[in-house]
């Protein structure tokens, strides 16, 4: 019930921005949506499955370049380009996940972090394709409301996907991997297949989102495509909201985006350092996330309700 209420509230807010907001509100919300999508995507592999993914910007950046190249050279519409970027994300995620997800916690984190920096270096270097450090420019999209709508739908899709994961055995099995991968494997859970699936589910929206973001900016260059600060911000958003929860990524992204906007407008020189300090503060003081506070004060129900409800309906529950 509450979940439907949240959906309705989101739809109303999203519509309000289009109907009543100015350009500034539209731009702010588009960038917020990009972070919401990234946070939800990261939450699937990082929150539910427990794999510390420090390479999400690889998918975002490659999606951005695929999208821009299609729009620039083949004159594709941004929507088609974003779908193709999602496809490219999938094509990269499956083999990469199959190799990298054999690595446990810290190995996985540093390998993907390094890979992202390599992609960045390659996009700097390969200027025949990517324009190198100068970047690639697109004709700007004057009316961004359709782009806004597409991102809003993507956010909604991610929210529903996460709701499904939270209430399905697929999600329970991901969390089993997070808690004890060896035991999960011994008990017949196909860990490799599940991990690659979770990794891909997080890669596809990130890549599509990269293309949409590039279309919004009408520009892409390596530091924008593979921005380390976006990586760390996304992860911190999920942590601040609540790892492995349905509403955590959205709550974290909104809180963080507002804070970011304030910092950016007041201290442009120190912006990155201040973002870092905010992240440190989140880790030290809010490691369990805002959602856990809300659950404890009974404002929202704890997650994974589906099995509890089925058990209650079976009539044999205590």
């Amino acid at each position: 019930m509450k979940f439907r209420l949240a959906l309705a509230a989101f739809a109303a807010l999203a519509a309000a921005v289009v109907l009543f907001g100015n350009d500034y509100a539209l731009t702010f919300t588009i960038q917020l949506f990009v972070f919401v999508v990234l946070a939800y995507a990261w939450n699937i592999i990082g929150g539910y499955t427990g794999y510390s993914h420090f390479g999400q910007m690889s998918f975002f950046g490659i999606g951005a370049y695929v999208g821009v190249l299609l729009m620039l050279h083949l004159k594709w519409h941004w929507l088609g380009a974003a779908l193709a970027a999602g496809g490219a994300g999938l094509a990269l995620a499956v083999p990469l996940g199959w190799i990298m997800l054999r690595l446990k916690g810290p190995f996985f984190a540093i390998s993907l972090f390094g890979l992202t920096r390599v992609f960045e270096a390659v996009s700097f270097e390969w200027d025949a394709l990517t324009g190198g450090g100068t970047g690639l420019y697109l004709p700007p999209i004057n009316d961004q409301r359709m782009l806004y709508l597409a991102l809003a739908l993507l956010c909604l899709g991610m929210l529903m996907l996460t709701y499904w994961i939270d209430n399905s055995r697929f999600g329970l099995q991901l969390q089993a991997i997070r808690d004890d991968e060896g035991a999960a494997e011994a008990l017949g859970i196909r860990t490799t297949r599940l991990k690659v699936t979770a990794f891909s589910l997080s890669a596809v929206p990130a890549a599509a989102c990269g293309a949409l973001f590039a279309a919004h900016l009408a520009f892409i260059d390596p530091p924008t495509a593979f921005a380390p600060v976006m990586e760390v911000t996304t992860i911190a958003m999920v942590l601040l909201g609540g790892l492995g929860t349905i509403l955590g990524p959205a709550i974290g992204a909104v809180t963080f985006a507002v804070l970011n906007e304030l910092l950016w407008s007041r201290f442009p020189d120190l912006y990155y350092g201040l973002v870092g300090l905010v992240v440190i503060a989140c880790v030290l003081f809010m490691p369990r996330g805002i959602v856990s506070l809300l659950v404890r004060s009974r404002l929202i129900a704890p997650g994974r309700g589906a099995f509890r409800r089925i058990a209650a309906r079976s009539g044999r529950a205590p």
């Binding site: 808690d179 999960a184 008990l187 017949g188 058990a311």
Partner: protein
């Protein structure tokens, strides 16, 4: 002689310079409760890990109903009907007991999985733990939930790694009762433990392992009086 459900042949496993299994063999008859005893460090847990696929044998073979399973991934061995518990329990600690059970049931619908989980919890007389997080349970409760989790897989063969260690005698007796009930329903059980008293009480056939080799095998009364067993232990 009928084909055993599980048969291990010449199992050898080394860790660096240490030989944990030195040509151990054993077999488990269908429908039996088979036990394996041996002093600490005799290789019991290693043998279990090799049967379940968590460790690879250096040489030797494991057969399940005559088919080799020792090169399979753990989940594949599990799908062939072998489910295990862990010596130091390894529950999914951030999930409730119900979720621990439901998570591993992969052949049923959600509703069937939940019903099966409730059935398992009732059999083990722990339905009141259903919504408790596994991380909050006592050691004895965790042992019971581990058995419940293997029940979700409807195994043909249940491997129990020290189910009686570190729990009070009342709970030990309760577990003995559950295991006998499961055997009555047609399940085969293979138990390792160093609680010799219980193993000898509950098992049909007992293997004695020492220093990576089988010292003897026989019915409990034969093991009880065998001088080689006493030598292995003292």
């Amino acid at each position: 002689m009928t084909q055993p459900l599980l048969h291990v042949e010449d199992a050898v496993k080394r860790f660096g310079g240490r030989t944990a299994l030195d040509g151990a063999h054993c077999s488990v008859a269908t429908g039996s409760i088979t036990g394996m005893i041996g002093p600490n460090g005799s290789g019991k847990s290693t043998l279990f890990n090799c049967i379940a696929g968590a460790e690879a044998l250096d040489s030797g073979a494991v057969y399940l109903r005559g088919a080799r399973i020792d090169r399979l991934a753990p989940h594949a061995i599990c799908e062939r009907g072998v489910a295990r518990t862990f010596q130091l329990t390894r529950l999914f600690r951030d999930m409730t007991v119900l979720e621990n059970l439901v998570a591993v049931a992969h052949t049923f619908s959600d509703r069937q999985a939940v019903e099966r989980a409730i059935h398992a919890m009732e059999l083990l007389e722990i339905p009141e733990l259903m919504h408790r997080p596994a991380g909050d349970l006592s050691y004895g409760q965790r042992k019971l939930v581990e058995i419940g989790r293997t029940l979700m897989l409807e195994p043909k063969l249940m491997l129990l790694d020290e189910p009686f260690a570190g729990i009070n005698p009342r709970l030990q007796n309760r577990i003995v009762g559950y295991l006998q009930k499961l055997r009555g329903e047609g399940m085969t059980l293979f138990i390792i433990d160093h609680e010799m008293r219980i193993i000898l009480d509950v098992c049909d056939s007992v293997w004695v392992l020492a220093e990576g080799r089988i010292v003897m095998n026989g019915p409990p009364q034969a093991v009880r009086s065998d001088p080689r067993v006493i030598e292995a232990y003292f």
